[in-house]
Each structure stands twice: as C-alpha cells, then as structure tokens.
C-alpha cells in the first residue's frame, strides 16, 4: 500500500500544470448554460484538444495521450486547481465514449470520437422522458425499423446542454411487447438538427437554459448509429450509468479545488467560528473522496470491476457539493444572493446533484440491497 506516484505519473502532472498555467483563461468564461458561454467553452475544448489535453486517458489514435487512470486523476487535480473551465463536452466524453469503447464498432469510434474530443460535436444524453425518470425502463419513445435504419418518435426531457448541443444518444423501445420493461430497448445516436427533431430549451432555477425537451417525429437514424445489437440497449446503458456515478463523472480534483477555494474564502472573511466546522468538513470530505477514488482506481487497475460501490460515490459527492456551496454562500452573506458569481453558479448546479445520475434515493436502495444484502421491498 503506498501513496507515492511513479515518475511517469508525476511527469504528466507537471506537464499538465505547466500547460494549464500558460493557457487557462485569466477571466472565467461565461456560464456554459448560455449561448455565449457554450460557444466560449466549445472553443476551450478545441484549445485543450489541440495539445491533447481534452481526453488524456483515451488512446492516441482518437486524440488522447493513452494516459493511465491514475494519470487522469492527477490531470484532473491540476485541471481544477488551475481554475480551468467546466467541460461542456463531458456528457459525450464520460458517458458515450466509454460505451463506444466497450460496445461500439471500429467505424463508430473513428467517426464519433475525434470530433467529440475537439468539441466540434457536443453530445447530449437523451434518456429521461416525462413519464420515465427514476423508473427509466418504463420509457416509451419508439424506434421503428425502416430501410437502412430506424425512425424515432416520442419525447425526451431534461437533456443537459441539449439547448445548444449537436447530437444526442439515448434509449428507444424497439420491441413494444416484451415481458419486462427493460427488454426490447435499443441504444441509438441521433442528430439534434435532423428533420423531425424539435428542441425546446428548459430554464433551470436561475433561468438559464441548462437542459431541454426533445420532441421526435419520425426522425431517421441510419443503422450505423445504432450501438450494439437491437434490443440490448438496457444492458449497454447500465454499463454507462456505472461510469456516470462511478469514477469518471465527478473526479476528486474538482472537490479538492473547491474545498481549497472555500478555505481561502473563509480566511478572507476573517475565519469566522460559526462556519469553522463546515469548512474543515469540506477539506476532510475532499481528502476522503480523493483517497476513496485512489482505492477504487487501484482495484480497477488490478482487474476488478467497479460495481454497485459507485452508488457510494454518487450520494457522497452530491451531498458534499451542496454542503460546501451552502457554506460558501453563508460566508458571502448578502453578496451570496448575487446570481452572477461563480459561487452562485456552482451552488445552483450542486443543487441538482442528488437528482441526476440516478436520484440519491435510488442509490441508497442499491447500496442497501446490493452492498448490504437487505431484502428487496416495495419500491
């Protein structure tokens, strides 16, 4: 058991630090949930990709550096410590890309991954529907066979970044009369600008169009945009969900940087006793999450699969993020009400953490049943 990094690992850290120091914009970019901010963040993705910092752990042929999981974690620590912008491409990079690595064809990877890495094509996740939230398998949007592909019809909702994104990936019911709801689903990628697609942005709490509804009316999708086999969508999607909650979606680097920023804010405000415990707990939580992730990464590198333990992460980071940002707003006092600050933007984003990527109630069920072995009850 050790916490020392190899020369190779620290070399990448040092290189990333130097590059970020030279390139991170001095002023924060406008919110990526606005049209202007989206464009600015897309340009940042291109800048990252230009020097292969966009997807460091991908193979070189798709624009990565072939970095190890540990190197990726160190890169992320540097990335957030440098105050670099949030990643507009993350739905594609963390959800679709791992799925394509596991289930996609060679052709799909070659076609989809490089423009994803460069931010030229930004992806949205189209899973949820108005009647299918926590009970995702009850989804009703259809994929009907047609010559050379599929026709998609139905409605998707809460699709993050879809207001400005280019393409989307999601699950569709291709066999209407299956015994179980999770059977007969097919995983497809589609163009948000294709004929038959209507995108209606939805404004979140602070009025920014952070997600969107998608109305699909006989949208044609060629066979080459199907991932895996027809009817196998659920299994494929669930492997992605593990990624979403598990290692990749929220790297510890982000929380280490936030905790450090909170500690500085606390010091600037004269180290008030009233928030001392919360600030200390933010530091402790970030360290706990970092070490927990190192342990998970070590097991992963030993060939173990990360299973239902990823639900532990999900509940932990989502609660952590809210607590940290509440403390920041408390410290800011009346300034904390101002909506156009970084802290407020992050606070509003944090509020959604316990809801998306599988609500925390659903995660607690998974922990209780699959990690503690408690009997299934009525949902």
């Amino acid at each position: 058991m050790d916490l020392t990094f190899t020369e190779e690992e620290t070399a990448l850290r040092a290189e990333a630090r130097a590059w970020l120091h030279a390139h991170v914009p001095a002023d924060p970019l406008p919110s990526l949930e606005t049209e202007e901010g989206f464009a600015a963040h897309r340009a940042w993705e291109a800048e990252l990709a230009g020097d292969r910092w966009s997807v460091v752990n991908w193979p070189r042929e798709y624009g990565g550096r072939g970095a190890s999981l540990i190197q990726w974690l160190l890169f992320e620590e540097e990335y957030y410590a440098a105050g670099a912008p949030g990643r507009v491409g993350q739905n594609g990079i963390h959800l679709l890309a791992p799925t394509l690595f596991d289930y996609g064809t060679e052709e799909q990877r070659a076609r989809v991954l490089p423009p994803m890495a460069s931010g030229e094509v930004v992806w949205a996740q189209a899973w949820s529907e108005p009647e299918a939230g926590s009970d995702l398998a009850s989804l009703r949007s259809r994929a009907t066979r047609t010559r050379g592909g599929w026709l998609l019809s139905g409605q998707k909702t809460w699709s993050s970044r879809a207001a400005f994104a280019d393409r989307a990936f999601g699950l569709f019911r291709s066999e209407p009369d299956t015994e179980k709801p999770y059977q007969g689903l097919t995983y497809l990628m589609f163009d948000l600008h294709a004929p038959g697609v209507t995108v209606r942005p939805i404004r979140r709490l602070d009025a920014k169009p952070a997600f969107a509804e998608l109305f699909l009316d006989e949208v044609f999708v060629p066979d080459e945009d199907m991932i895996g086999e027809p009817g196998q969508g659920w299994r494929i999607a669930m492997s992605t969900a593990g990624n979403e909650r598990g290692l990749m979606l929220r790297s510890p680097g982000r929380f280490l940087a936030s905790a450090e920023r909170l500690r500085r804010l606390w010091a600037e405000k004269g180290s008030p006793e009233s928030t001392k415990a919360h600030v200390a707990d933010a530091l402790i939580g970030a360290r706990a999450y970092q070490l927990f992730t190192y342990a998970a990464a070590s097991r992963f590198l030993d060939g173990e699969r990360i299973g239902p333990e990823s639900s532990l992460n999900k509940v932990f980071w989502s609660q952590y993020d809210i607590a940290l940002h509440e403390t920041a707003l408390d410290l800011l006092g009346e300034e904390g009400e101002l909506a156009d600050t970084d802290w407020a933007e992050r606070y509003v984003f944090a509020l959604a953490g316990p809801i998306y990527a599988g609500t925390n109630e659903i995660q607690r069920d998974i922990i209780a049943e699959r990690l503690l072995g408690l009997p299934k009850g009525r949902r």
């Binding site: 058991m1 050790d2 916490l3 020392t4 990094f5 190899t6 690992e9 540990i70 620590e77 410590a81 280490l256 450090e260 500690r263 500085r264 180290s271 001392k276 415990a277 600030v279 200390a280 707990d281 530091l283 402790i284 939580g285 970030a286 360290r287 706990a288 999450y289 970092q290 070490l291 927990f292 190192y294 342990a295 990464a297 070590s298 097991r299 590198l301 030993d302 333990e309 532990l312 509940v315 932990f316 109630e361 995660q363 607690r364 069920d365 922990i367 209780a368 049943e369 990690l371 503690l372 072995g373 408690l374 009997p375 299934k376 009850g377 009525r378």
Partner: protein, 311 residues
C-alpha cells in the same frame, strides 16, 4: 501508487480477526466493566503475541519499528471486536517511554492522561503516565475509578508524580494516539453496521423483515457511506502520518461511528437500549472514542491549520 492492502497486510488483519472472533470478547468486556481483569489480561497477552504492541516500538526494544498501516489495521480489528483496556494508551506510552520492552510483550499495561483529568483504566495499568506541555510524569498510583458512559472504560484521576523527561515526543505520541483511536472507532462503527444489518434482516414487523422497508434501508445506506469514506482516510493517514491527515481521519471515523451508533440503536428498537444486548458494548464506545484524544473541534482546527496546501 497502489492504495490497496497487500497480501501480508490482509493476512495479518484476517488472522487477528479470527483470533479475536474466537475470544468471546463480549464476556471479556463485561468482566472488565466490573473491574475483573483476568480474562482481559489473558486476551491482552494474545494480542501482544500477535505482535500488535510491537508495531510502534523500535526493533532495538523488541518491536517491529513503526508500522503505522499495520497498526491501524490492528486497531480496526480491536474496535470491531470491542476489546477493552488501555490499548491506544499502551501504544502511546510505547512512543513516549525510552525503553518500552515490557510493553511489547504485553506484560505491562500503560495508561496516559493527556489534556484530561482522567486516564483510562488506571486501576488495570501498571505504568501510569501524565503528559503535559511541561513534560512526562509517572505516577505511583491512581484515584478512585469513575464510570465512563462506556462501562468498559474505567476512568481514574492520576497524580502527576515523578518527572521522567521534560521533552517528551508529544507530537509523535499524539499522532499515534489519534490514528489508533480513529482506527478503533472505524472498527466499532463497522461492527455496529454489521450487527444492525443482521438484526433488520431477521426482525419481522407488519409481516415483513424490517430491512425491506425503505426508511430502514436508507439509514443503513447512509451509515455505510460514512464508514466507507472514513476507511481510506484512516489508511491514508497511516501512510503519510501528517497531523492534518490524522486529524481528518479522527473526525471522519469518529463521526461515522457515532452516527452509525445512533442508527444502530434506532433500528434495534427497545432491545438496543438495554445493557443486556451485546450491541451496547459497541454503542457506548462510539460515543466515548469521539472525545478521546482530541474531540471533533480540536481535530478540525488541526485540519484547518494546514495552510495553503494541496492534498
């Protein structure tokens, strides 16, 4: 970087677990609480034989040198099995004393008072130390036993007594005391969770095991989360031995164990509120360990004092 136990570490942990599992520790604890130390001393001897007390003692004195990861693993097991006695204090004394040979063998039990008027188990210990900023003192005797909220922890006042040294290694002693207390608390929490999971699977109400009710499941899921995030802090602190890492581990492990104790009590219902139920042996310890060797406030201050540093 490989933040995983190696094979020897796992084997050491598992053998200690097996030995303690066979020792009927609940009976030992109950004796100890009444001031009957015979069975506790016998168990103590076996723990020493397993090498636990040698993990903080230089090889020249019969120890293994400082092996903090193994020490932390051992203390998780001692906590899991609710082993009574001044365990943390004996390790701490080993750091403080110049020739700690007798401590390694388990023949001697030591206790240490630090920042508190009371020392743990002064009646069972034969070496009684008081640690202050002015130095390390050895007292010949102890005051009357006062009951702790954890009946297995018998508290005694100490007189300062003879000055052993005016420059004891306070920092180092405190680091190990906190680390082992954190590990012990983590072990206490893990058992509280295990016992409660077992209970809710077999206790039936409204025609179903209570563990099938979501309100019950979610409390246990929260306990699991808190403990699983405390664990890497304890092991990480053992690796770095940085004071702020150790303080963070102490806060997280003790708070997780205490929150788990509250959940365990709630989910056991009235039976959990009795001294008859073995659960009580762990419940009360979770509360006591929280304040031992620097409570949450003191440890949080250490975390915050770390300066502009990146973990």
């Amino acid at each position: 970087m490989r933040f995983l136990l190696d094979i020897e570490q796992r084997a050491f942990r598992d053998s200690l677990d097996a030995m303690l599992g066979a020792a009927d520790t609940p009976a030992v604890v109950r004796d100890w609480s009444r001031g009957e130390h015979a069975r506790g001393r016998a168990l103590w001897g076996r723990i020493a034989e397993a090498g636990v007390f040698g993990l903080a003692v230089p090889e020249a004195y019969g120890g293994f040198g400082l092996r903090p990861v193994e020490l932390a693993l051992a203390f998780v097991e001692l906590g899991r099995h609710a082993v009574p006695g001044p365990l943390v204090e004996t390790v701490t004394a080993a750091v403080l004393l110049m020739e700690p040979k007798e401590l390694v063998s388990g023949e001697t039990m030591a206790t240490v008072a630090y920042g508190s008027p009371y020392a743990l188990d002064g009646d069972a210990a034969t070496v009684r130390l008081t640690l202050t900023p002015d130095g390390l003192f050895r007292s010949p005797g102890h005051g009357p036993v006062r009951p702790s909220i954890d009946p297995a922890r018998r508290l005694t006042a100490l007189e300062k007594g003879e000055l052993l040294t005016s420059a004891p290694p306070i920092e180092r002693a405190l680091a190990l005391a906190r680390l082992t207390t954190a590990a012990q608390a983590l072990g206490v929490g893990l058992t509280l969770l295990d016992k409660t999971v077992a209970h809710v699977k077999q206790r039936t109400q409204f025609g179903a095991p209570i563990g099938s009710f979501q309100a019950v499941k979610h409390q246990l899921a929260d306990a699991k989360i808190a403990l699983e995030f405390a664990r890497p802090l304890v092991l990480g602190a053992a690796l770095t031995l940085a004071p702020e890492d150790i303080a963070a581990a102490k806060v997280a492990a003790c708070e997780a164990a205490y929150a788990t104790a509250r959940t365990a009590l709630q989910l056991h219902g009235a039976i959990g509120y009795t001294a008859e139920c073995d659960l009580s042996l762990w419940l009360t310890k979770a509360r006591a360990l929280r304040t031992a060797w620097g409570g949450p406030d003191e440890c949080r201050a250490v975390v915050l004092s770390g300066g502009d540093r990146r973990w």
